[in-house]
């Protein structure tokens, strides 16, 4: 048994050096050289300022922007750090709601949100992704149904024709990978940046 103590100690040291230091640092070095944009978090810069990441959703509340999905992320309460308060799209504290399907809190929330959405667009049924929180709380995407549902509100707020806004949604709808993998989705931040660019240009 004593004979195994030396390898036990030195093997953990050896593997820490190989897999815990050399490997991640080498990957970091190569990644920053070959894929600098992705390695840094796929950040979007507008007018010299970082406005977000292509991959991370952000909170939109104004009528002139498309809104992402509800988010269940939280932040420490500034008044009492032991408690948390609900703040959507906190990108250094990813989380889902973890509400089960028979939770009254879930069904009440959905009822509330669905009511508000129906007031914006009474003609269409409410797409389920617009009233459910994502797993990460940072979902950058909505479904094409979820984007088209919001077209009347956004068009009205911006004084644009609905057709123009609908075309923009269609241009920003990304299909499945090779037509098979994943689901069609619309990146909310990119769509809203395109809307702003449209207003400027």
């Amino acid at each position: 048994m004593l004979k195994q103590i030396r390898p036990a100690l030195l093997m953990i040291v050896g593997f820490t050096v190989i897999t815990g230091i050399a490997y991640p640092l080498a990957i970091t070095g190569i990644a920053e050289l070959v894929f600098p944009h992705q390695a840094a978090g796929s950040l979007i810069v507008r007018d010299g300022k970082v406005v977000g990441s292509e991959l991370i959703g952000q909170s939109f509340a104004e009528d002139k922007y498309f809104h992402g999905r509800p988010s269940a992320t939280t932040e420490p309460d500034p008044k009492d750090p032991a408690k948390t308060i609900a703040v959507p799209y906190v990108a250094d504290n990813s989380a889902g709601s973890n509400l089960g399907p028979t939770a009254k809190a879930l069904v009440d929330r959905v009822k509330d949100d669905a009511g508000k959405l129906k007031a914006q667009n009474p003609t269409a049924p409410v797409p389920v992704d617009l009233v459910t929180t994502s797993a990460s709380g940072l979902d950058p995407d909505i479904t094409p149904a979820g984007a088209l549902f919001q077209v009347p509100r956004v068009a009205k707020a911006r004084g644009l024709a609905e057709d123009r806004v609908r075309r923009l949604v269609e241009d920003h709808t990304e299909g499945r990978f090779l037509g098979i993998l994943g689901e069609p989705h619309v990146n909310v931040l990119k769509l809203n940046l395109a809307l702003d660019a449209l207003a400027k240009g």
Binding site: V34, L55, S94, G182, E183
Partner: protein, 575 residues
Amino acid sequence: MTLNGWLQIALYCVILALTVKPLGGYMTRVFNGERTFLSPVLGPLERGLYRLSGVDARAEQHWTTYAIAMLLFHVAGFVVLYGLQRAQAALPFNPQGMDPVAPDLAFNTSVSFITNTNWQSYTPESTMSYLVQMSGLTVHNFVSAATGIALAVALIRGFARRSAKAIGNFWVDLTRCVLYVLLPISVAVALFFVWQGMPQNLGAYTEATTLEGAKQVIAQGPVASQEVIKMLGTNGGGFFNANSAHPFENPNALTNFVQLLLIFAIGAALTNVFGRMVGDQRQGWAVFAVMGILFLAGTAICYQAEARGNPAFAAQGVDSAPSALQAGGNMEGKEVRFGIADSALFTTITTDASCGAVNTMHDSLTPLGGAVPLVNIMLGEIIFGGVGSGLYGMLLFAILAVFIAGLMVGRTPEYLGKKIEAKEVKMAMLAILILPLSMLGFTAIAVVVKPGLDGLANAGPHGFTEALYAYVSATGNNGSAFAGLSANTLFYNTTLGLAMFIGRFLMIVPMLAIAGSLAAKKIVPPSAGTFPTHGSLFVGLLIGVILIVGGLIYFPAVALGPISEQLAMNAGTLF
């Protein structure tokens, strides 16, 4: 359910099946100590490690020495990992200035990562420095996976050898597995992941100003290098709290698909290593078939349940039907880019294996959809399984299956020419029964004491399932969670830590005893009375034994949790 959903699942199965033989052949060469195409590069590193640690690579070990070496290695790993967490504030690579990790949490996390569980009571992006993530957690993602694989190979040697005293050398198996199997795949796929959008940097978190003028702090880090081994080694511990649902940990459907392949790749290939080492690849394919059938059954149930959605939403005017414009279904706790099919597939695979990474919040699954991961882990994660642990768990059930077959015909049972006698059956039963003792025993305590009940987030049967799932996941070394549970408390950190320890090591020791005992036996030549273990009859019998043993032990607990909740949901009851 949609045609496209099933197409994705079928494509996954085809590609997985195609990887089995090449990877199995390569791994067989690695564990037989033969040269591989990577030997010119990695050979000097391998020999350097042996020289540094004073290991004689040609000296083989008796099963007791093998077990002691493995256990001592874990003691050393535990101490280093615990120390790193406690000291992280004073160490480099901590741009966010993380404080030292609390003692009970550091204990829980250390046990969690040395046992290949990766249960996380903490939120990584607000708790762990980059140094702990890289030099602590990533290291154990490599070596705990390699340990599991080494142990499975040791058991295979027990079947393959005749009248032998030794079952291999733990240090050699560990080293060769890390260097020749895990590291090369990790390097290649980590770079692929960065290309696809995963961050890989050591900088502080980015402060962005959103379009509406709010401040958003975007967590960063060396994500890709940890992500790949998290999946390949069936570890499952996320770089971020949301794990593989976080867009940085799983940016698109392609990375999702590759992650799913990584989870099963080694577990599936080990069935082929088994076949090759015992000299009959059909034996490996029979085990593969059992795993494949159970996998497809679980996927179908989970996909169906999630695609149906939450019936309580219909009354609110919410449209959950699938169409060309949306995936529909139960989207609470899911990501749009994955929809229902990829989420159900991930949920099933991550719990068939002992991975525990999630791209969906399991706590928000429908009752039946959530029962699938729960039952997968209860059955011992033998469906391709954790790397190594899946195969040795399945072989324990195979021993039980031939034993039962032997009882039915009144003949001494044999498996692969080895007589299965009282010692093997006792040890196999011990290894199998340790799991429910911990899973059900700890749950029973948690649901009657106050600190246990205080942690539950949901009421009604769903709350019971939260506690049950936690101990099932910890004992099964899975690490996924019904994450509403507030587990970062002294009560849960301690009891879950114990459950992880019991589930890993108290199963391994009897398993290694079987390996040693089998290696010492002669091989009986097959005769007309030998029960063939490569045909469909054996496949059916093995599935039956797994489901009956699992069903009898766990049915009451599943009835109290998911089954009650399903009935309540259908009746429109809310809690």
